[in-house]
Subunit: 154 residues, 2 copies
DNA sequence: AAAAATATGTTGCATTTACAACAATAGTAT
DNA sequence: ATACTATTGTTGTAAATGCAACATATTTTT
């Protein structure tokens, strides 16, 4: 009853949707104003490749919450901007397109991450780091409940 | 630092995006399996009209988090399904398309809300109502911080 | 060894979405 | 009173997204 409350705009569904929307807006604005030279999606991909250097496109897709098709397109764009290069490589005896971040890409990523960090300290002032940690933890637990429900398969 | 953490997949941005995505998936699945006869978006619109009987399309758009164009299209679909009817009316001496929920629409809305409530009690078992209230409150406070940042206009 | 299943990536298409332009009307200012 | 601005809704268009089909290659099954 409290979960979906009585009506749509009172539900947790709505609160999460709305928060996600505002964050996306803020992100788009940040990347636009700061002239990052890449989209938030491209940054997400680049940053995630940096954290998982041997990742394949399929696994990257799962992490950045896109499907394989769109992940491929984002990577095409990053490649066109010479921020990554793609070579055919082998992992577990399987052919994969290995992605390597170029020097230019690493420089750009570092710059971008710094700008983001700098910008977002303004939020941290208003919402303490501990509060954010708690919120993230609550969301994780909440997701776990949802995923169990998905497995129940009704 | 904690807000965006070091990397994309550790950030609160990511947690919220991921949670939103899972909720949307769950919602789509629910509406599909239960044969609701309308999309989650249409339900959001219908339920919100029910809560604000005199609302105009523009205000409805703000509430259901769509733009005016898409709100109009959703309403077209609801009208085609005979769940609402639209008549030209006057509000504050202004011409607006007044939306009225049909009897069929009210019946459908009640049915749907009941099915949702029933289904979501399963989640409440795993995640207490109080926890959900707390999560919603945290999200509200977090959004407030973000909105202040948006007003600061960079 | 042949066939079936799995993994990886690409392409095409249909849907959703957002944004901008437009039309019609009403309020406000000069 | 006329012109400007704001509100409301529609239409058109371009971009993002997701899904299904396909191509290729590898692993597993028979």
């Amino acid at each position: 009853m409290t979960l979906k409350k009585k009506h749509y705009t009172d539900s947790i569904y709505y609160d999460i949707e709305l928060t996600a929307r505002i964050m996306k807006l803020l992100g788009a604005q940040l990347f636009d104003v700061m002239n990052m030279g890449m989209s938030p999606e491209e940054h997400a991909a680049l940053d995630t490749i940096h954290c998982h250097p041997e990742i394949c496109q399929r696994d990257l897709a799962k992490l950045i919450l896109k499907d394989r098709a769109n992940t491929g397109r984002i990577l095409n764009s990053l490649e066109a901007k010479k921020l990554i290069s793609r070579t055919i490589d082998v992992k577990n005896n399987r052919l994969i397109k290995k992605m390597t971040i170029t020097d230019e890409g690493n420089k750009k990523l570092e710059e971008t991450n710094y700008k983001i960090k700098e910008y977002l300290q303004k939020v941290s002032c208003k919402f303490s780091n501990e509060e954010i940690d708690n919120l993230q933890e609550s969301l994780r637990i909440f997701r776990k409940s949802l995923e169990e429900l998905l497995e129940m398969n009704i």
